[in-house]
Amino acid sequence: MSLLLIALLAVPALTAAVLWALPAGTGDRVAAIVGSVVSGGVLVGSAVLWWDLVRPHCPCTYRLESFLGPPPRTLPGKIYAYAETDISWIPELDVRFHLGIDTISMPLIALTALLVFLCCLYSLRITPRAGRTRSLIALLLIIETGVIGTFSALDLVLFFLFFEVVLIPMWLVIDIWGDEHDRAGRRRAATTFVLMTVLGSAVMLLGFLLVHRQAGTFDLEVLGENPVAGGHGIALVAAVLIAVGLAVKMPLWPLHIWLPDAHAKAPTVGSVLLAGVLLKLGSYGMIRILLPVLPDATATIAPYLAGFSTVAIIAGSLACLAQTDVKRLIAYSSVGHMGFIGLGIATMSPEGLAGALYANIAHGIITGLLFFLAGGIKDRHDTSDLRTIGRALYARLPRLSGLLTFACLASLGLPGLAGFWGEMLILLGAYHPGDSLPRTTFLVLMVIAGLGAVLTAAYFLRLIRQLCQGDPADNPATAFAVDVSRIELITWAPLIVLTVLLGLWPFTLLDYWTFS
């Protein structure tokens, strides 16, 4: 029973309830302040939890006793959960209220807390034009509860439950606070988002039920110790169902179709959370559920998963090359990056998995920053269309476009910035895939993914070229009162610092993920 973890879940949800209960006359500003304080508290709480988790005496880190001879290459199986809460909840259905964290989920929880905090902070000054900031903040807090719950759930049904909790608030966020110029478009985007993800999670639930039928339990700790063996039959069906369900969320090609619309139409904070946190639910689920619970069946489907991921890398990058909307472009870039993560998971190798986990964090930070920047550009120009914004942003908004260039370089995987290590380790994992996987296939996929990395560079450079560079004489200079306002700087600074830190010093995080 860990009160801190429960508090991390309960406090945002309760605050959201309180915010809704407040009289309608309460100012949006107050709501934003409350949201900032609470999410800041959650951030601090998660930091404390993290510190608690990795204290040296704690038995729960996967620290490799090095130089003791090479143990066999293995993957995360048994969960050494920390801060556990394990209460019987619905005994008839064998469902337990089982929470816990380990070194895989903790950084993601912290990332979630950070991004929600920054979004609330951002909302202090900059809010969508639709107003009703109070509800927006409340929904963000609900999303925070759902995401942290998903990351800490150790019971399949509980995982599913928290997974679903995130959906409806995000749907509302897109539908109500989305692109104010395109009412039909944002409604369609929101509906597509919610329908596709609900379909995906329904499929996933079916997979969970099959797992229960085979193993007789929903508990991830138990399942981690006694995984469902066999790479065919019901186990295979379960793995396919769970993989498809999570792939919708991730999203993998060709299930990505909801993503560009949803990201492009969502408000800035919505896009940031959607890309920074929600997509991670899919990849986290794959690492947490697919690999430990159904190892043999996952090995059977891994080549296909890797294939689709590689197609996602290439297709996402190619689609970016032909985009004319900056938010849509960044959204498609997420498809490519999540493709990398999918490839890393599909390699089933320690390197690939560590890479996938690292890329998860890095993508959350960098794409969050990119969406903040794109939101800033959109707010200033009242459109996110590249042709309408015009070129030569370097001349009009030098700092903002400089930051955009920085974020683009980080996102394309420049070594020395956060995006690199994940991609590098994933490619390394593909070079050196798990023992039961066909190596040649993965070598081919590695080469294709490498070319995809070049394409990634190509579209980001194209974005910089079309947006930031250009002859100022051809583009009427619009006067902007502020280049980068103070609140923007405060909100973005942590992300920038983290991008550089994670790029230069990957060891702290990588040490958590030395699977063996």
Partner: protein, 588 residues
């Protein structure tokens, strides 16, 4: 204010690098590790630093050139100084990282950061279309090579079971992995050093500020490729095939680039092609696989850094004072004799640089080129085909180099008696040719802040030739001199006649760029449109169709609700009958 601070930081950092080189000189080779974590059991990622002779040599080169460039930039650049200086400093820092790194990953960080910095610096004048596309091209082509480099790191690192450069080669590795790994590393080197077939980005990178070009060509970016092979020489020595491939690439590149330089009509473009060609000479030296060859290549790297840095800075002065480095513009001044008279320091230092490049006896380039030829000759004498190929192509390149150096020198600085003051061969298709006569009276020499680096580097371009100790193989020296003269004479006679025949195939640089455009860029753009269309019209159509199908199905089911009681009743009775039959079937 910020700009000044950055300038101080930039110059200070360059001086620090020189100081470090001085302190490390003569120190025993050593390595330091910091950081590090296991990923799985096979991969141990660390940051390691090392120092040895190679490090010191490169640190000195980088420090001096970047100090010169930083100082020069103070006079050269007036706008967007802060970002520019910061990036140049970061550029230098990246190269230093590459040089001192003993970890393949740390090296890769520096290696690619250089690419990013060069991208940003080439695009410094982002108002200009050619700068934009040149920058993008530079980054993409080098990144394409870098992907190969990354894979090469995987193959070698996992093959040798270490990612430390100093430990590579200690453990056995399968020959296949060795060849594959070194070939992949070579891909990265080819991209970075602009060798065939990834050569086209370097000439197109010329719209960047001239000091940046000097930095890229003399000390950082392109030199990093040569450095890397020298650093991994033990590994490469074991891979016979890779060295042969390197030799072929180098020989093709040096001739290719020399030919392209012969037809270029802009000073910086000529210099860019000459860099490609000179780098190829260094690679040729390395590809011999002998200690002599490596030594000669590094020697050439050193002298090349001096005279190529010098030449680019001179071109920068021309560009800064005249406004363009195109032959056609420069000749407007030249035909009045203005250029030489008004800019004496530039003229003299540029002459020294060109002499060094052309291999005029006594200048630095002469000695270093000869040492490559000599190493090739020794190798060829031992019965090596590679040696012969290298020997022949370096000699041919020497002649071609002399040709384009003399051509550049004469056409830029001297009046053509035969043309009696006309612009000559360069006005054909240049829109600038119709402009009115420039006011040459305002033309004057650059500031001393710009000239001082020129003089320093000019001293290097002369003096560095003797740095290696004067050992001269007289036969080879004579042969290369004769070849240089053979190259120079046609250039002179053409200039005398006021003719500059430029074969179309050379002027178009063998049509490589348009071919890449057709084979790579156009299909990728086409594919991009196809993907977007596919998303919208295929995948999106499925999604929309699912929605429509739902609506249609519900509309269809709604039709069943006719409102007619008897229909409902009929349906109910039919249902009862069906259930009865079912019950009967199951029951029996």
């Amino acid at each position: 204010m910020i700009a000044t601070a950055w300038r101080v930081v930039g110059v200070g950092f360059s001086l620090l690098v020189i100081l470090a080189a001085g302190l490390l000189y003569g120190v025993d080779p050593q390595q330091t590790a910091f950081g590090g974590s296991f990923v799985g059991n096979d991969v141990f990622i660390t940051y390691d630093l090392r120092t040895d002779d190679l490090t010191v040599l490169l640190l000195a080169v980088v420090g001096v050139v970047s100090a010169c460039v930083q100082l020069y930039s103070i006079g050269y650049l007036n706008e967007r100084v802060a970002s520019y200086t910061a990036l140049v400093t970061l550029f230098t820092l990246s190269m230093v990282t590459v040089v001192v790194s003993d970890s393949l990953f740390l090296l890769l960080i520096g290696w690619e950061l250089m690419g990013a910095c060069s991208y940003l610096l080439i695009g410094h004048y982002w108002e200009r279309r050619d700068a934009r596309s040149g920058a993008m091209k530079a980054f993409l082509m080098t990144r394409l090579g870098d992907v190969g480099f990354l894979f090469g790191i995987f193959v070698l690192g996992l093959g040798y079971d270490t990612f430390k450069i100093s430990e590579l080669g200690d453990s056995p590795i399968s020959p296949g992995a060795l060849t594959t790994g070194t070939l992949l590393i070579l891909v990265g080197v080819i991209g970075k050093s602009a060798q065939v077939p990834l050569q086209t980005w370097l000439p197109d990178a010329m719209p960047g500020p001239s000091p940046v070009s000097a930095l890229i060509h003399a000390a950082t970016m392109v030199a990093a490729g040569v450095f890397l092979i020298a650093r991994l020489y033990d590994v490469f020595l074991a891979a016979e095939t890779t060295l042969t491939v390197l030799a072929v690439v180098a020989c093709v590149t040096m001739l290719f680039a020399a030919f392209c330089a012969m037809a270029a009509v802009e000073v910086k473009r000529v210099l860019a092609w000459s860099t490609v060609s000179q780098l190829a000479i260094m690679f040729a030296g390395l590809s011999l696989g002998t200690d002599d060859g490596r030594h000669a290549a590094l020697f050439h790297l050193l002298t090349h850094a001096a005279f190529k840095g010098l030449l680019f800075l001179c071109a920068g002065v021309l560009l800064h004072q005249v406004g363009s480095a195109a032959f056609v513009v420069l000749r407007r001044y030249t035909r009045r004799g203005a250029l030489r008279k008004r800019m004496p320091v530039t003229f003299v230092t540029m002459t020294i640089g060109l002499a060094a490049l052309a291999g005029v006896p006594g200048f630095a380039g002469f000695f270093s080129k000869d040492s490559v030829v000599e190493a090739a000759w020794h190798h060829a004498r031992d019965g090596s085909t590679v040696g012969w190929i290298v020997l022949v192509s370096v000699c041919l390149t020497a002649a071609l180099t002399a040709f384009y150096c003399v051509r550049l020198w004469l056409w830029v600085f001297f009046r053509t008696p035969a043309l009696a003051g006309a612009l000559g061969a360069f006005e054909d298709d240049d829109p600038m040719a119709d402009l009115e006569e420039p006011d040459s009276s305002k033309l004057h020499e650059g500031s001393w802040l710009m000239l001082a680096p020129l003089i320093v580097l000019a001293l290097g371009a002369v003096g560095l030739g003797y740095a290696d100790g004067l050992h001269l193989n007289w036969a080879i020296a004579l042969a290369t001199t004769v070849l240089a003269v053979f190259g120079a004479l046609p250039a002179y006679s053409l200039w005398r006649r006021g003719a500059d025949p430029r074969p179309v195939v050379l002027e178009r640089e063998f049509g490589v760029d348009p071919a890449y455009q057709r084979v790579l860029v156009v299909p990728v753009e086409w594919l991009a449109r196809l993907t977007v269309g596919g998303d919208r019209d295929v995948i999106g159509a499925y999604v929309r169709a699912t929605g429509r199908a739902g609506v249609l199905a519900s509309a269809g089911f709604r039709k069943l609700q006719t409102g007619n009681v008897q229909t409902y009743l009929t349906a109910a009775v039919v249902g009862v009958v069906a259930l009865a039959i079912l019950a009967g079937v199951i029951g029996s």
